[in-house]
């Protein structure tokens, strides 16, 4: 038998190993999600990220090497966003009927997300570029990074905050809105799309297709509104 170290050094070079690991970790996360009866705390993204982070740490692999393989999965974010067109199209009659509630919820949710994040962070002594990185965290990653760059934030910090917001929003949305007794799927989906972008939308699709469609719309509309609100809010509440 060949030296296992040689095989490892071959595998560590190419994308095959980490692409496979990403898919397997996701399937493990998805299996946990299903066996717990689709509990929101068993979020498949969170489980897969923890498994992969452990694996990278155990094998001493850096993120750049991992991303060589995982970039093929990462690339699919774009096409999946375009694919949201179909549930949106399917729900168009519903969407037309809900124009006013959507507009009101968009403004309320978006302003709350930006202003409350800035106020809480400032109360705990955060200022400057870190505050600017936090402002756009509820919007989808490419837009959030663009906004952060314009208002003096750090793009990599913003990317991490965006993802953490998404995972937390996806976990909290079901128990939170159950506690508030809000049973309208449109309201449930739309609000999580505004507050927790694509990861919230992924959660909404796991639960109900109408919620998913409205979540996708909330995410898209909030991408536009946050680009306008974040710089203003930072000037007003950024200290």
């Amino acid at each position: 038998m060949r030296d296992p170290l040689l095989i490892w050094s071959y595998l560590a070079q190419g994308p095959l190993l980490w692409l496979t690991a990403t898919l397997v970790a996701y399937l493990a996360g998805d299996a946990c999600f299903r066996t717990t009866g689709r509990q929101s705390w068993a979020n498949p993204v969170l489980i897969a990220v923890i498994l992969l982070a452990l694996l990278l740490w155990l094998t001493g692999t850096d993120y750049a090497t991992y991303f060589e393989g995982a970039q093929f999965v990462h690339f699919m974010l774009g096409p999946a966003t375009v694919a949201l067109a179909l549930p949106l199209y399917d729900n168009l009659p519903r969407v037309r009927k809900a124009a006013l509630p959507m507009l009101a919820a968009l403004i309320a949710g978006s302003v709350t997300a930006v202003v409350s994040a800035l106020l809480i962070a400032r109360a705990f002594g955060i200022s400057g570029p870190v505050l600017a990185s936090l402002a756009p965290k509820s919007t989808t990653a490419p837009v959030a990074i663009g906004i952060a760059e314009r208002i003096g934030g750090q793009p990599t910090l913003t990317a991490a905050l965006v993802l953490l917001t998404g995972i937390f929003g996806a976990i909290i949305v079901t128990p939170l809105l159950n506690a508030l007794n809000i049973r309208d799927w449109r309201a449930r989906g739309f609000s999580v799309g505004v507050a927790a972008h694509g990861i919230g939308t992924a959660r909404a699709f796991q639960v109900n297709e109408t919620a998913g469609a409205f979540s996708g719309i909330g995410m898209g509309l909030n991408a536009v509104l946050t680009a306008i609100i974040a710089p203003l809010a930072l000037r007003l509440f950024g200290g």
Binding site: A80, A85, K97, I120, V130, I172, L176
Partner: protein
């Protein structure tokens, strides 16, 4: 499946070009999404054609966030310094934004009479 992928990628490509050429505040994929909805309205046969593969793709939307999620760990040192304050800001603002957004949606739907009896969560839903 391949033809659906080609359609979706083409819309993303057109979206990217339009977003950059016109300096839109929206990322390319979101522009592609809007153009694809318009196309489906004009040509419902397109929606029927892409349905199977597209819904399959969306069922695993979570998967596509995993590589970027692993990046949080790679940038852990960025979060360490202000970690507690940032965590409180994220948790507080996300809870408030979801609660306020959903409540306002439901309240305005009631006031404007645009409630939707078919879109109500049943007692046995997740």
């Amino acid at each position: 499946m391949i033809s659906t992928l080609a359609i979706i990628l083409s819309f993303q490509l057109i979206g990217e070009i339009a977003s950059r050429a016109l300096a839109l505040p929206l990322p390319g994929p979101v522009v592609g999404l809007i153009l694809l909805v318009l196309t489906c309205i004009l040509r419902p046969s397109v929606a029927a054609h892409i349905r199977g593969t597209t819904l399959g793709l969306l069922q695993h939307l979570s998967l596509f966030f995993v590589p970027a999620g692993v990046g949080i760990v790679a940038h852990g040192d960025l979060l360490r310094e202000d970690g507690m304050a940032l965590a409180l800001a994220l948790i507080g603002s996300t809870v408030l934004a979801i609660a306020v957004g959903a409540w306002v949606f439901a309240a305005v739907a009631r006031w404007t009479g645009s409630t939707d009896p078919e879109a109500q969560k049943g007692p046995n839903d997740a």
